[in-house]
Subunit: 476 residues, 2 copies
């Protein structure tokens, strides 16, 4: 499909969600799209991977927000996708604003340039079917339609929005007008839809011409359009913060597609799942003969229809029914499967109580690698620090703490004051208070050190940066 | 009660159980009797504490086995109970042998000396009632009876043995002959007992004269008696291993009390619970208005009749019914309350699979303090080591590993080769391979250090001891 003849197409990945419903695996600083829920790739990596046969990296852009940009950047870098653009919204304003922003920022492209919009965090088993459907959708998008993709429902799901098909647009009955959009229905209505036929799950994937979107925005969301249109004035482009401050927050579905009369739906069966809650994983993964999905170091006796996710400790279960157990290094969730939607409220409560477990993991990702707090007590803190090959931390000093570093694997280049030296495995160095220092990994293997901090204050903000490689507000 | 006039009485605490049903809090090397399940004292400490008003420390003995002796010793030392004797059985042979051993080892006492036997790991809310009942029991024990203590049943419990009362022995109806012993009954039978009256739970507490026990043993367990009686020959006392090798393994109840005709039962209501399973804790602890016992850092939404025990991490629960969640640093158990008996089988399975989580905790108790493995990987291991005031580790060396020590709290006296020096907080020392070294805490506060080991082999058995303060087979 990725041949020379294919119509040029820009893929817009919407990656602004927080995914609180995957707590404790997701945290506000570690959202669903960077989780490796389904294998070795993160959700956003899989999303991009499946588009590459049709859309090359230089035709892809990710729309995200400031707090997630660093993580997204890392996920793309790890795959060598340096050409994919990252567009940072100053604040989340839902999907109509995100898609509108993309349409505006694509102003080097012709007016009838095609844009396809994809959520960053869904699962699609059959990539070829997606590409085929996109190709068909592109034909109707070029004709001026706002094209959606509908999934034939497999069950009376109450967690998805639905699209009702209208009159067929082609003789083969592969494309229809969209007659109606229905928000998450109650169970009896979902059952009716399934029985009646002609209803599809709304996949959240769209394709349209740039001008078709902008026209629809100006007609149905004039305030949103006026705000974003200010960015089209290249001479007097206002700061994005200023534009976003007053933008209405509404979804593409609600704000545009429900109102427009040129909406088409392409039905496509492709093993799609929005992976919205822990419940979805129980549906996606193979189950044992008692209906359990057991993951990691688990031991079960007689449980049924459960999902047990053990990240790195042992989780033993006995006689549970329809229960979800998710274990991470600092927090464990045990939740009945009928209550997975409540995880969101639980996280809100954790946030109200200022519990750090709602914000980040024990292991914190940094542009240069990651660190894990292993122990802390009055006057000391112990961290494991991994510096990725070729990376370095900022040149820094601390007012209140001294640090001992023991290299356990790899070789470090350490700056202390005016001295620079190599520190190999099984060697250690000491960094006194108020001493300028820097840690680097000059090798091609990861550098692992154990850091013991001692001092009166061990807050992360006791850090004065003198030189830094990274465009980011915070560091180790 | 502990006045000069009281009849001399030796208290025998039976502390040989493994308590696998309290996994993951109990481990084979960390049994139920040393757990702090009910507050700041371990089960064995509480057991002894409640006897002290009647029995002084020099009249108490704990019967245990070699693998638990060190822990028991530590529990007693922490309370300053240095006079309490510890008798170590070479292997567990059930309660008849343990009580019989005590009767034999008390051969400095007169034949009619009174012995009271107590399980080390039960809960009794009303200590005064226990002491009163003991006093009454002592009267009948002196008269030659084997006296048991029966708990008036509060519910049709199927997890306890029952004693049926026979004819009253006194006019006041406070003591009865024991007519029958019944093993854990099925539910319908337990209901009948409750309805009929005259049945008591068997508390596992007994009082009898030394000679009454030995006579009963010789009559009803002649093989057991012949074995133990060899120890009475002070001139030719055989090694305990040899005696125990062929001793029959049977309980006092089964082996003696069911068969003897001089058994009495003293009913006593004293808030007794055998704390046999996690279920017992749900009964003992105060519950919230949805019937939950929540312990530690927990957050719950809408669960009912649950027990959640969070040792030091966050445990969140949603919509659970009658579920037990126990979280420890290296293992989590989630178990339906109707299945608490199965925890035992689960632990057996862990043992079959050689999982370390069945054997010990991440934090391992040692005679000199404790250590916790915080991290390990190829070529390195990180431990937190706490040395109690005045204690020292053995003088040792390692063939395959070097060690870095960073003192984070307290002051260490460190021997390296021929040098001895003090290392204060925020200082570190390095111990190369093959170098004789020793760690001591010369201060009155605990010493805490972080140890980073590096080397080709980091097994605990890479240790050559040159001098050691402790009577124990293994060390850090």
């Amino acid at each position: 499909m990725a041949d020379e003849e294919a119509v040029p197409l820009t893929g817009i990945i919407l990656a602004g969600g927080s995914g609180t419903r995957f707590w404790p695996l997701s945290r506000s600083q570690y959202p669903k799209q960077v989780l490796r829920l389904l294998g070795s790739e993160s959700m956003i990596q899989s999303t991009i991977e499946r588009l590459l046969p049709r859309i090359p990296p230089n035709r892809l852009a990710v729309v995200t927000n400031a707090s997630q940009a660093q993580l997204i950047h890392q996920e793309l870098s790890r795959k060598g996708w340096h050409e994919i653009r990252i567009w940072i919204e100053p604040q989340g304003r839902n999907t109509a604003a995100a898609a509108g922003l993309a349409a505006v920022l694509l102003d080097n492209e012709p007016e009838d340039h095609l844009m396809a919009v994809f959520p960053a965090d869904h699962f699609i088993r059959e990539r070829d079917r997606l590409i085929q459907a996109l190709e068909l959708g592109a034909v109707w998008a070029r004709a001026g339609y706002l094209v959606t993709f509908g999934i034939p429902p497999a069950r009376p799901e109450t967690g998805y929005g639905y699209i009702r098909q209208g009159a067929p647009l082609d003789a083969a009955g592969r494309v229809f007008r969209a007659a109606r959009f229905i928000e998450k229905p109650p169970l009896d209505q979902a059952r009716e839809f399934l029985k009646a036929g002609g209803y599809f799950w709304n996949s959240g994937i769209f394709i349209f011409r740039r001008d078709a979107l902008l026209t629809a925005l100006s007609r149905y969301q004039p305030e949103l359009y006026r705000g974003l249109a200010r960015l089209l004035d290249r001479e007097n482009r206002p700061p994005l913060d200023e534009v976003y401050e007053n933008l209405p927050s509404i979804s593409l579905d609600h704000g545009i597609l429900e109102k427009a009369d040129n909406v088409a739906v392409v039905p496509v069966e492709m093993g799609w799942n929005d992976v919205g809650t822990w419940e979805a994983l129980h549906n996606i993964f193979p189950r044992d003969d008692r209906g359990n999905v057991l993951w990691g170091r688990t031991l079960d006796r007689d449980s049924r229809e459960c999902l047990v996710y053990a990240q790195d400790r042992l989780v033993a279960t006995i006689g549970l029914e329809r229960t979800i157990v998710v274990d991470t290094p600092d927090a464990t969730l045990v939740c009945h499967r009928d209550r997975v939607q409540d995880v969101k409220d639980l996280v809100a409560e954790l946030q109200r109580q200022n519990m750090v477990e709602s914000v980040q993991h024990l292991t914190v990702e940094r542009p240069w690698g990651r660190y894990t707090v292993m122990d802390e007590g009055p006057g000391f803190k112990v961290k494991r620090i991994v510096v990725d090959p070729g990376m370095k931390l900022s040149l820094q000093l601390h007012r209140h703490r001294a640090e001992h570093w023991v290299v356990v694997s790899g070789t470090a280049r350490v700056t202390i004051g005016r001295n620079v030296r190599l520190v190999a495995g099984n060697q250690s160095v000491y960094i006194p208070l108020e001493t300028v220092h820097r840690l680097e990994n000059p090798e091609t293997e990861p550098l692992k050190i154990i850091e013991v901090q001692t001092g009166a204050s061990l807050e992360e903000d006791d850090i004065i940066r003198l030189d830094d490689d990274y465009w980011r507000p915070e560091d180790k």
